[in-house]
């Protein structure tokens, strides 16, 4: 269960939010110049890292505003929350916190 810090409303339970997928993906500026492979890259290919992931969230049951989150996909620790827009400078910034990526023990199935 995530506790997400909405930049406008403060920390709230994840059930108040909607997930918008990988962040920093801009729709191609000149769509007609793109070939099939480039469209496939934009539409379908994702980074899907095991580690720090930059993603979009919306506070659907609160202020309804979008923002970006950097989350560690193994520990679920939220590394930072930062605004949409002015993306480049922010996206290029290195991950501020290094989180130990200890994997959970494998449980038994049934």
């Amino acid at each position: 269960m995530l506790l997400i810090n909405c930049p406008w409303c403060g920390p709230r339970d994840e059930t108040e939010f909607g997930y918008g997928g990988e962040a920093h993906r801009a729709r191609p500026a000149d769509p007609s110049s793109l070939g099939d492979a480039e469209w496939a890259e934009f539409l379908f290919m994702r980074t899907n890292p095991k580690g720090a992931h930059r993603e979009r969230w919306v506070h659907s049951h609160g202020c309804r505003r979008w923002f970006n989150v950097e989350r560690h996909t193994v520990t679920n620790q939220i590394l930072r929350v930062y605004p949409i827009g002015g993306t480049d400078a922010v996206a290029e910034r290195p991950v501020e916190q290094v989180v130990e990526t200890k994997e959970p023990k494998q449980g038994s199935g049934s």
């Binding site: 899907n48 494998q106 199935g109």
Partner: protein, 417 residues
């Protein structure tokens, strides 16, 4: 490999079951390498190795598993097997797998406890009803058994279900595939491992693949925690970790990894003798041979590699269970766990050659690949051995994401994602 039979059982009973042979050899990587290395010792990887040996005579094969066999999604799923998929391509692939399941215990000489108890998919609104009927017709055109049941017939087939009209999402009917059912998931992995090992395949456990070595753009082997292993061809079958492993060869995939949870209740006497699934209220349930209810629901919305899953997903799933079966209201839940599933944009798998020479990939099964285990291994072995897909997986190549020939199975995947 000694054959399992009533005689071997009696014979071993006489010595208090102390002298059974090992089911499979536990190997270290061979110094001179392999014709084929399979990354991932889940059901799909093991089945691939088995069919490589059996159908194509390629026995110089290693399956490399970073943990123990079947410790990934193969050992974590809710074991539902069915072939009621909408599109021709998927129907053919999943039906091939179901047919292989029907003979698998005999073929592997290993009891996988396949139980064709019937799978019901419920409809709760007019959209569901239309989709269900359409799917029944599509399936019949493909020669796959499928029936439409009214609410009363649903009740007759599964007497403990609640078909009251006074609930939020009343049952309006459902589809039934009688040949569908469940199997013992670990046994599927173990049976394939034993049969593959008997045909000469090396099974290497507790060995993590950490890199894919290429020379002049061609794959020549894998780096592992036990050193470099030379390989003529490499097949990636790493389920939740397919992006991570493909990344070792700079290959980007159209998949995202999400946690999916399952849970089991305390064991109770036999009370439900079929599988019930509902996409709309969102739960699927069956009873294990031990008596536990086995339940699953949807994936977490966000990506993740932590094998847990969010609590609110379970709350939702329990609410759905009680709406369908008020009789379970006092039942206690025993355990919960999560697996990481790799989901494709069209909810269909990728079984394909890759742009990297000698590298093959089998992934994107998302929430529904257990039912496909034998079929997946069968066609992937063909793809690796021949360097070309089998007719049954030709449509499931990586190139469909550039050609746009997607196989949209979100409806039949039965898990919202």
């Amino acid at each position: 490999m000694a054959k399992y039979s009533i005689f071997s059982l009696v014979k071993n009973a006489a010595s208090h079951h102390q002298n059974w042979d090992r089911a499979w050899r536990d190997n270290r990587p061979k110094a001179d390498g392999y014709d084929v290395v399979i990354i991932g010792g889940g059901g799909h990887g093991l089945a691939t190795a088995y069919y490589l040996a059996k159908e194509h005579g390629i026995t110089n094969v290693a399956v490399i598993e970073r943990s123990w066999l079947g410790g990934g999604n193969t050992g974590r799923n809710t074991t539902i097997i069915r072939s009621n998929y909408l599109w021709d391509e998927s129907a053919a692939l999943y039906e091939k797998s179901l047919q292989l399941y029907e003979g698998l215990s005999q073929e592997l000489n290993y009891n996988i406890m396949f139980s064709q108890r019937g799978v019901l998919n419920l409809a709760h609104n007019l959209g569901d009803v239309r989709e269900g009927m359409r799917r029944v017709n599509a399936l019949r055109l493909n020669g796959i058994d499928s029936e439409w049941l009214t609410a009363e017939q649903v009740k007759e087939f599964c007497p403990i279900i609640n078909i009251s009209k006074d609930v939020r999402y009343p049952i309006m009917g459902g589809t039934l595939q009688r040949r569908a059912g469940t199997a013992r998931h670990d046994a599927v992995a173990w049976g394939f491992a034993r049969a593959a090992s008997a045909r000469g395949v090396d099974i290497i456990q507790n060995c993590e693949v950490t890199g894919i070595r290429r020379e002049n753009g061609k794959v020549v082997g894998v780096e592992t925690s036990m050193g470099f292993v030379k390989a003529g061809k490499v097949g990636i079958v790493a389920a939740g970790h397919s992006s991570v492993v493909a990344g070792m060869a700079d290959l980007r995939l159209p998949v995202e990894s999400h946690p999916l949870q399952a849970l089991v209740s305390e064991p109770v006497k036999p009370v439900i003798d079929c599988v019930v699934m509902s996409n709309t209220v969102h739960v699927y349930v069956s009873q294990s041979d031990k008596g536990e209810l086995v339940m699953g629901a949807g994936i977490d919305a966000y990506t993740g590699y932590g094998q847990r899953g969010s609590f609110h997903v379970i709350e939702h799933q329990m609410g759905a269970l009680l709406e369908l079966f008020p009789i379970f209201s006092r039942l206690r839940m025993l355990r919960q766990w999560g697996g990481i599933v790799d989901v494709c944009p069209d909810a269909s798998p990728i079984i394909s050659k890759t742009p990297v020479e000698n590298l093959f990939i089998n992934c994107g099964w998302g929430t529904g690949g257990f039912k496909a285990t034998p079929g997946s291994g069968f066609v992937f072995a063909h793809t690796i051995a021949r360097g070309e897909p089998h007719a049954l997986n030709a449509a499931f190549g990586l190139e469909r994401f550039t050609t746009g020939h997607l196989i949209d199975e979100h409806g039949a995947a039965a898990v919202a994602h």
